[in-house]
Point group: D3
Chain length 283, copies 6
């Protein structure tokens, strides 16, 4: 169950409106690695934990915080849109500042949301749950979380670099710090699980059921062998259970497949028209 309080986790007040920046800032609200993504990802992972304890609690703690970040960003975006102009582009073009604003802002901020934030990214794609991950396997999922916090902090930093507004920078410096913590915390949780389970997910699948002869082999399918210079091409494997090998000229392990014709009621191209098994051309 959830309680909302009306105070913000941290300040979300720009020095002045900037509708073009409002459009860009949508990325970290409603983009692939925006705050909606992490909030819902952590909640779904938490709800799906089969058992109880510190991991579930950590997920719910962090999910609730990310929802507070959605709120801060929504507030900031509404303020960046304060009094945004609408109007005739051609007339506006005579004043380059107004022209740049009108040309660069997201038209839906005026037409659709009435100067409010939208659940969308910086080019207007609506947020989709296709972005999020919750598998029931926490090591797999915490890796997704570390990824999300890495991509998210990277985007926040890029946004920090592209404004001179001190209010916006102040809020971003908060979000960036929180991403530092969240990267640290998922890192800690991952180390703990890896210590118990080793590094390959899932840890519970019997090793003898996989084709172990290719479990530590790098196949060089991209001509040139720069990749042979990496740690992944030699020495003990990272899980400590094998030895890395490098295969410079990988060959196929199977033959050319030929599929049987479809039944007539499927109405694929009929075999006689398909002209299967045409002898190869000799030139």
């Amino acid at each position: 169950m959830f309680y909302h309080i009306k105070e913000l986790q941290y300040k979300a007040k720009p020095d002045r409106p900037d509708p073009v920046y409002a459009k860009k800032l949508q990325e970290v609200l409603g983009g692939q690695f925006g705050e909606i993504s992490v909030a819902l990802q952590y909640f779904f992972q938490g709800w799906n934990v089969r058992g109880d304890g510190k991991y579930k609690d950590l997920l719910m703690d962090t999910g609730a915080e990310e929802l507070a970040h959605v709120e801060m960003l929504a507030t900031m975006i509404a303020r960046l849109l304060d009094g945004a102009p609408v109007g005739d582009q051609e007339i506006a073009a005579k004043d380059p500042v107004i022209g740049a604003i009108l040309g660069g802002m997201n038209p839906q901020h005026a037409i659709v949301s009435g100067l409010g934030a939208m659940p969308a990214d910086s080019v207007g794609n609506r947020w989709t749950a296709s972005y999020i991950i919750a598998s029931g396997n926490l090591l797999a999922d915490f890796r997704a979380n570390l990824t999300a916090e890495s991509q998210g902090r990277l985007q926040a930093v890029r946004l920090y670099e592209s404004t001179t507004d001190r209010g916006v920078k102040d809020m971003l410096s908060w979000l960036i710090a929180r991403d530092t913590m969240h990267q640290n915390q998922w890192y800690a949780a991952i180390k703990e699980l890896e210590a118990k389970e080793n590094i390959v997910v899932p840890s519970t699948f019997p090793k003898e059921l996989e084709k172990r002869e290719v479990s530590y082999v790098l196949f060089n399918y991209s001509r040139g062998n720069e990749s042979a210079a990496g740690r992944w091409a030699q020495g003990k494997s990272m899980d400590g259970l094998g030895e890395f090998q490098y295969v410079e000229n990988p060959q196929p392990f199977a033959k050319k497949p030929v599929l049987r014709p479809a039944p007539a009621y499927i109405h694929d191209t009929p075999p006689q028209v398909l002209g299967a098994m045409v002898p190869p051309h000799t030139k």
Copy 2:
């Protein structure tokens, strides 16, 4: 540039057709963590590397292999669909086996693809590039790759558990082994980059620009303090640059925001109707 050879990387031949399993197997072809996702993710990361060398090469090697896996799965799915029945569900229901097949198979495998694989997941969602990640920051991206291989191997293992067909199991044991390698290789690459850059992405943002007072703090927004028992709540931070702290009753750092009214030309609810600042109810 790419060359295709007609042989498969590994065998993709089931013991017998199984159209219901064909539907399930689509998940690792065209789902969020299917082979299309990793193939295109690695290619886009590789094409975007600004520079040259072993990381770019490794990305292209692995992307090319994943495309070969798409091919193996497409071949396997077509064979699982060999001679799939179409027909009248009610009549079929009299033969429970036929009924189960007709009820459980993906109707698009008959109607749309003519007994071929589709670029879609196990419930029919078409593959979307919203699944993939390529940021230009390799540590962030390799974490995404380790995530993808973890989720992908988990799904392949679950699919392995849900069939008794030896041909399918044989192919999956190959794919599972390759996922073991790919988890190991991205793990190795990540360790190498972390050794150079420390663990927080991006490493190049000056620490003094973030709100360092909250860079290592766990806020307990989910009542109950099980999460305090974790490594993330105490001791040196994982990046070695701070000390974890746990805040049991986190309070807001900012005030309740009130937004200014919109200009009249936006036609939001007018301020006088909105009745802002109504004194709170006393009960």
Copy 3:
């Protein structure tokens, strides 16, 4: 800012697992009118309110409750999936109950989420923010809310009708009652706004700027005049500002449009090929 507490708003415990019903129940979690939709819709409307007061508070109250409903449904779905079988459809088909479960459950519940709820609807479409509405105009938005609660309660009732599980019915009877309240509350809020603004949204657009001669006319574009029997075809208009009229044989108010050719650099079909203005065939 948000706090989570670990207790549920109401019980979410089925009598027994039922993976097929779990799939159906996803509709009211992650479908067009599922609880994710209303939670995020109310939050975005609340965050975008420009001013303060009871409407904003009501939106945040209700949004927080809907998020608690997502949590209840996620919990219920996980329990309905307890110990769900995976396995070979053809073998399963010999036991009609197992066969029906395997054929009817969502394969992603096993392969993707590991027996957890997903942010998706009953056929597997992932939730999308294209479902939600927040315009900055509260009368327009409260109508969207009343719609959402009407559609949502209808779906919950249909789901209630399709199970005999007392635990599930118990939870649904809670959700249905809450939808009763939410329909009542938005209805009350709408009446209040309509009393201040009259019924046409937005109320702030000057009447003289619209083509008032067609503001209260029903054009009968579907031959046959059953629609003339309605209140909307005669008498005072509902906003009290006009008189309904019925036009049985509506004629166009404008001429046939002919578009000018595109510039050559667009490479549309060239005008001379298009053969524009060919004289009509006489037969």
Copy 4:
């Protein structure tokens, strides 16, 4: 069955081309509340009416009109794109008017549609049937229709405010007037159904099957009690069947849920690793 006539319902001719405005106008053609949405929503509702009579007829009348509006908007957009420039942005930037046009227009209007309208919104999202609603319950659906006409008119008004082109304004003043009618007509139809069915949808679900003790309760999940000041918190409920109550400090009605472990073949995090039931930290 449908007949098309080549005349437009109303004029769709701008004073002069304006490719940037063409992009914005797409919102009411192919956006969430654009004319495609209402046309197809009314048609699907009409086709799904089980019975016959005035409601079905009204739906088909209005659907046919909305399709005529799609046609008017498509015509207007093509004309706004007449002779739209393509070209080099950097060169164009020297002429601020050309620069503003090139920077602000939708590049797909040149590259993809060849200066024609697209089935997309003002930021280029393609229209999706996820926008539309047809449930078989007309009261629920007419509320959706009133919502659509409210949001649609609001957007049309905002677009009216952002141009000085008299031809565009003339067409919009027509569409705005028609939205006035359509709000009035759905309002009338809703009143009629509410008079027969009372206000809660669906009206046919027995009241005694819902948890009536919470059917008229407002839970204050957002701290601070401004929402208690509303009509929805006191007095007779709007359906006349209960009394509104306000609960200032709502408590959970259920316990903290703990899920049972998944079967081994699912390969979730194993229970022993999950470390469930860790005793809470005391600080």
Copy 5:
């Protein structure tokens, strides 16, 4: 402008309900090549024709017919859903026929649409305008139309093969015949345009601006030369302007690209960490 008449173009009455078939039939209503796709594709092409005459008229004629087909299919689907059971899968499984129906029908047909058709395909993906094509170049677009009618007729035939209901077959035999006509008509229109413009689209781009040395070359990027046996590998090109050539071992025409580092404010992996230009491994 459009008029609707209430009679159907052709009968849409099944012998008996069949909810599982209703799900399948959705494919040709709301799938990639369903009737919504062709109706809106032809309308958008028609509205975008810059000029007037027989092509535009043909597009509007056919679009209006396709909309009548949507209506027929929506009617048929509603009737196939007549009295569809809802209920408990496990209980139903005891009656194999009911079990098969419940397991195989689309749950949204009961929960969402109330036994009505949906704007979705046979697996529940909502229709999207990403399916349709209107470029302003009629030869390009008529090819899209011939494609759509080919794919659509193929799907209708596959659906015809999978039912024994005479009413359904009767309606499908109508739709299949109309697809025969539509393939014939677009074929005729294409021939006419090709006679005027030759076969390569767009015909208006000066030949000397393309790299003519590769305009008629087949590069054999898939090892093995079966493709050399085709007409496309030898003889006069189909446009009559060149000679087909076959290149058995195609080599790259450009060098390996190396991208310049990103500016610091982008925070990609820094060049020194990237370790560009690492000398290749020698083995």
Copy 6:
């Protein structure tokens, strides 16, 4: 199986960076008819061919080439983004060139991809497999391929017209030439199949099962008879099996449908409320 080589098929080097053009060029990389679409379309068609021989080989040849085109475009876009500015729009607006760049570039090129290409179109829609076609019927599919190459070449030509950069034009002149070849090759393959199968897809459905009386009839549903002037309205049908007819005033072949009420457990509007069969209004 696939091998990658690091050289490009052809040069992809612009004269100078141009971030706004980079955004536009995304259309032919990740749009509906971009290179991802054709690469994956040809691969899926190839993998689904049931048999072997020249058609399958041709598909794989061309698919592999299209993937090389994705690579060229990704490289070109990264170079067009070299050193792209980020920054404050309002400040930038003082320098019209910088302002135009910032206003016109895709913000995700800076924030999300770190100056790399994205799997998206020119307005930022992520690529989706909803674009592609593989039916198992090669005549149907080759028509889709000819369509894709027609639309794709048209878009490349439009992009060629909108830049003055010689490097970009050089690369586009290569891609345009390859599209010339690909249109020619699919045209040749289509002619070959049509010679064997006649022109109507699928060729294998018995003619006597379709309603032959309407297989060659043009119904004039769009008033005015310009369409009667076409080849499709008179003379021998294109498949040689019938005679085209033109019906100027087409009438319905079926009666007005009335659907039976839904069962009570569906909770549609009850029949008594629906007021079916209301006698029509007489005016």
